[in-house]
Amino acid sequence: MSRVRVLVGTRKGAFILTADGRRQQWEITGPHFAGWEIYHLKGSPLNPNRLYASQTSSWFGQVIQRSNDGGATWEAVGKDFNYEGTPGTHQWYDGTQHPWEFKRIWHLEPSLTEPETVYAGAEDAALFRSADGGQTWQELAGLRAAKGHLWQPGAGGMGLHTIVIDPTDPRRIYIAISAAGAFRTDDAGATWRPINRGLKSLYELPDPDAEVGHCVHRIAMHPSRPGVLFMQKHWDIMRSDDAGGEWREVSGNLPSDFGFPIDVHAHEPETIYVVPIKSDSEHFPPEGKLRVYRSRTGGNEWEPLTAGLPQQDCYVNVLRDAMAVDSLDPCGIYFGTTGGQVYASPDSGDHWAPIVRDLPAVLSVEVQTLP
């Protein structure tokens, strides 16, 4: 029987949750790297026992950890993230230009085609690539040439948090940056262009249709239709059917279209999931009810999924990297909260149960489907 392995990054360490294909009985290990912030962990689709973890601390800086045995043991690998050439500057809060400064890695994305290649999304926003399993890193500096001097950090930092690789063309990569927007390369990272046409930021930007500056929270894609993208923006759920050339809003009947994660069902490319959050100033679910919303129509028509989720007095948040889907049938959906719960649904969202209730605040959730 297939198994699943859920990789959970938290404010105070990493946890690994495993179960068989029924997804009812869970074994939990951790905390790994106790006391450190683990922004993200992810496994290689080519070698599932190869895991990467971003281990960070405001005090002691960045460490990248790598495992070759599914998280049983780890080794620290390269952590020299040097901006290419003269780093240059970006827009700063006071209107001046400010030098790029490395702070941390928000997201790690192993290649779909090259076993030793992995991408890393940084704050201050930049994309790094390693071709030797994380030992050394090189910046794909063409990204910052895409009007980087106009990017300005939001309150949460100018992090590159989303990396989506086209499974049919590894030269095409989508990335998203807080308060800068979405960008695409078609030449393996040499050149990039903003893909923000159709996004509207009425209250966040002086020009609501600006080419860059939109606060994209997450982008999701189904591997069978790599030109169709779904986006949770600061406000608004958006959809593009032409690889980001044009976006249209599909928020429909959601109780709030603010939120962080968005994901796509493993077997139904038009079934998508979001977790509405009340507002940018109140980062908790509307009415104190933790509801995942599912659309089976690629947006616009949404249904609340509540069975097994708290429906009163719930004031947690679900962060952008804290939702994932497995590829079993039926598809499993997972998300973690800032209250330390990790919820799983083994039936595409119809029923939920907590795998674990009392972890530190969850920063990221990824899941691997194992043979």
């Binding site: 790297f33 106790a34 006391g35 450190w36 281990q55 601390s57 405001s58 005090w59 002691f60 800086g61 960045q62 460490v63 620290a76 952590k79 020299d80």
Partner: protein, 98 residues
């Protein structure tokens, strides 16, 4: 032997006990201690000081003999009690406040 006390996060990272012993030749300074420490435990490179500029990370402090050496020159001789091992050099994560 020089005694260096590490903060908890760096102990777990380097997989060492609270106190690390280092053999040093020549002047006992912050620079010579950190270079010896990083040579013995390469995973600590970049966690205490910038790996290129060697500037102390902003939220790291150096204490010795009840004195704050955080702002001292990295080439200043540390107290004799640190050099002879009767007192440790404390590497400390600054208080988070709250």
């Amino acid at each position: 032997m020089i005694r260096v006390v590490l903060p908890a996060h760096l102990r777990t990272l380097a997989e060492v006990e609270r106190e690390v012993l280092l053999a040093l030749e020549g002047p006992v300074t912050l620079r010579s201690i950190l270079e010896a420490l990083e040579a013995c435990h390469p995973v600590l490179r970049g966690t205490i000081r910038d790996p290129v500029t060697h500037k102390r990370r902003p939220l790291v402090r150096f204490f010795a003999c009840e004195q704050d050496w955080s702002h001292a020159s990295s080439d200043a001789p540390l107290p004799a009690a640190v050099a002879d091992g009767s007192e440790p050099l404390l590497i400390v994560g600054a208080m988070a406040g709250g």
